[in-house]
Symmetry: C2
Subunit: 407 residues, 2 copies
């Protein structure tokens, strides 16, 4: 008998019929002899409706974050009750728990709280009684008993954190894709599903555009050694296991290729190459609440240098405005060059650490396809290039093929 934590997202529980399907799946796992804790999200659309109501009662100002949490937490609470009912209707024994009832204690940062610790006594008690526990994702409580929510990807985090707290044998993240692929199958039709991937690779894939899961949940799993599986709630196919790296993983040089569209780049050319300039640039950008991605600065010539960074196209104009305001501080000849319509292509693999020539192989593949590389950035297990957006799909296909990832 294993203890399995499952997580079902908002689309999987989006209608009463889908909730019944999820209930059948949970019940099937339980009837195989396992203990099951199932984490569920709000039904798709519910959160948006609640936020619309919030705006309508508070048109003068953004609603308070404390009350936003009280409001949003009703979404998952509705799903846990309905899922428990559906399991009971199908002949199983289930009991619902809110985040607070399940002992998920967080800090007091409403709408993006961090889990401080979990006291899973209540969960264990119900499991011991033979019950299936249906747990509200995305929520917790402060030490004072106030309701908090965990922010984006919060239900995945609930599942992984609870799996760690109860010492689960496996954590299954059910989603609408079959697992993690070597590349987005809509772009590279012969992309293959990975049987397993390391936490670090998953993190690099996530941060470079493969949006299967939020990085924070993967980081949490890595920190606490929670092995989890990403798999589809629509079929019975095995998914992708995400775990600490193994020896055999290292023999694969490149695990996958990820791409991210809708990027923009900003170059501040001819800035004075002296201490404090970079701080001034990125301070101005941070003050405007803009998240930036790659930063590239090359060696300087003649006392001036160029600093480039990439960011989401959506933040492009506000970044230009923020920089224009500090341009005079950056040196006499400094000027801003900005361009959108670019995209990011990354190859990721822990094998890269012990294999040389990965970057060269990637650049050669792009060159032979006549695709120009605009920027380059690397980490220990990732190599990323910026190319023109219209070329990104072709770039992904040639790189995917060059590393032998195609079926």
């Amino acid at each position: 008998m294993s203890l399995i934590v499952q997580k079902y997202g908002g689309t999987s529980v989006g209608t009463p019929e889908r909730i019944r399907n999820v209930a059948r799946r949970i019940l099937a796992t339980h009837r195989e002899g396992h203990q099951v804790v199932a984490v569920v999200s709000a039904m798709s659309g519910v959160t948006d409706n609640l936020l619309r109501l919030a705006r309508e009662v508070s048109p003068e100002m953004p609603p308070s974050e404390r009350e936003t949490d009280v409001l949003l937490a009703t979404g998952e609470q509705t799903t846990i009750a309905l899922t428990a009912m559906a399991i009971q209707a199908l002949g199983g024994e289930a009991v619902s728990l809110t985040g607070a009832q399940a002992g998920i204690e967080t800090d007091g940062v409403h709408t993006k709280a961090r889990i401080a610790h979990i006291t899973p006594g209540e969960v264990h008690r119900f499991l011991k009684d033979g019950k299936i526990v249906i747990l509200a994702g995305f929520q917790g409580r402060t030490p004072e008993g106030f309701i908090t929510t965990l922010g984006r990807g919060g239900s995945d985090l609930t599942a992984i954190a609870m799996a760690a707290a109860v010492g689960a044998d496996l954590c299954q993240i059910f989603t609408d894709v079959d697992g993690v692929y070597t590349c987005d199958p809509r772009v590279v039709p012969d992309a293959q599903k990975l049987e397993e991937i390391s936490y670090d690779e998953m993190l690099e894939m996530a941060s470079s555009g493969s949006k299967v899961m939020q990085s924070r949940s993967v980081e949490f799993a890595k920190k606490f050694g929670v092995i989890f599986e990403v798999r589809s709630s629509l079929n019975e196919n095995p998914g992708t296991i995400v775990r600490e790296e193994t020896m055999s993983m290292e023999s694969v040089v490149i695990r996958g290729v990820s791409l991210e569209r809708n990027q923009a780049k900003v170059t501040i050319a001819s800035v004075a190459d002296q201490p404090g300039v970079a701080a001034r640039i990125f301070g101005a950008v941070a003050d405007a609440n803009i998240v930036i991605d790659m930063i590239v600065q090359n060696v300087s010539k003649t006392g001036v240098t160029d600093i480039s960074f990439t960011l989401s196209k959506a933040d492009f104009e506000s970044a230009e405005r923020a920089l224009a305001a500090v341009l005079a501080d950056l040196g006499p000849g400094a000027k801003i060059e900005a361009q959108d319509g670019i995209a990011k292509l990354s190859v990721v693999g822990i094998g890269m650490r012990s294999h040389s020539g990965v970057a060269a192989q990637m650049f050669k593949a792009l060159s032979s396809a006549d695709i120009n590389i605009q920027m380059i950035s690397t980490s220990e297990i990732r190599t990323t290039v910026i190319v023109d957006e219209p070329q990104i799909e072709r770039a992904a296909r040639v790189v995917h093929a060059a590393f032998g990832l195609s079926a």
Copy 2:
């Protein structure tokens, strides 16, 4: 500075715009210098939607009561967050509390829990900080921390119980009527709003058809001496104060006239006048989960008697079936006579205790209007008659006039 508990029902908070109106009213009370705890219900229609979802995920069986409570409690939780947001948007300081957070502890009888005790420390703390407390009606928690709901009229009960627990100076029940009237103004156009009424009179009015409030909330208020006001959320008119009886109340013989339609009566004629017969009759009816109202048995003649009772028309046929099954046990000549299409008219007043002739005056008024009385039942402060339903409105008007209640 007074401490005022207010309660707003589902219609009063039925839309975002209405929630803003309620927020304005709460804020106005607070700005007059009072501390305010506002109890709110689920937005009208929300509870029905949730119950529909529950039926859809559980078509095989009625959903479990524990999970029904988890589900329904989201309705009030949504309203408290939205109401607190609306108050904040209008410049006030408000904080929401669920029943559990406000220390409302109940027994474990899900969907109709009884309040065991209230620990209002959290409420006091926020009031002391100058905050308006927005409290979820209708819900509480068991000692184990499970969510419960209080059943019909539960939000009124929350308001009155919390008023008792915090030692409120006044409890205001906002509703869609101006207060308690001497009779239903749709039936008796010159009915007058009462300035005050005693708990006992309010209870008799409620149980004889004036559905301003459920009896259990009035009983709770009586038990703990909570003075409350029933008033409209649509205007600024003073309402009706409900309180322990005073000397001056007793000088009024009849406080009001109430009527209840859709009644039926069942007579079991010629039953053996011996111990156990009544128990068998009403045991059979109770086993069928039928709530009965008046019971009348007259003195017997020649060893047999007639037992009559009234009940809601909706339960009429199941009562007939339940009785047919036990008829053979009731005596050799026993037979069932049943009739629907009747209605109930009551006069209520604590002054009745010290004034004789109330019943006679009522019967005389009905007689002079040529209305036949089919059954009579009395309590210390109420006299009730059953008449044909088509005559009920005329009966109410002549009795209302006969006791000088008209404007």
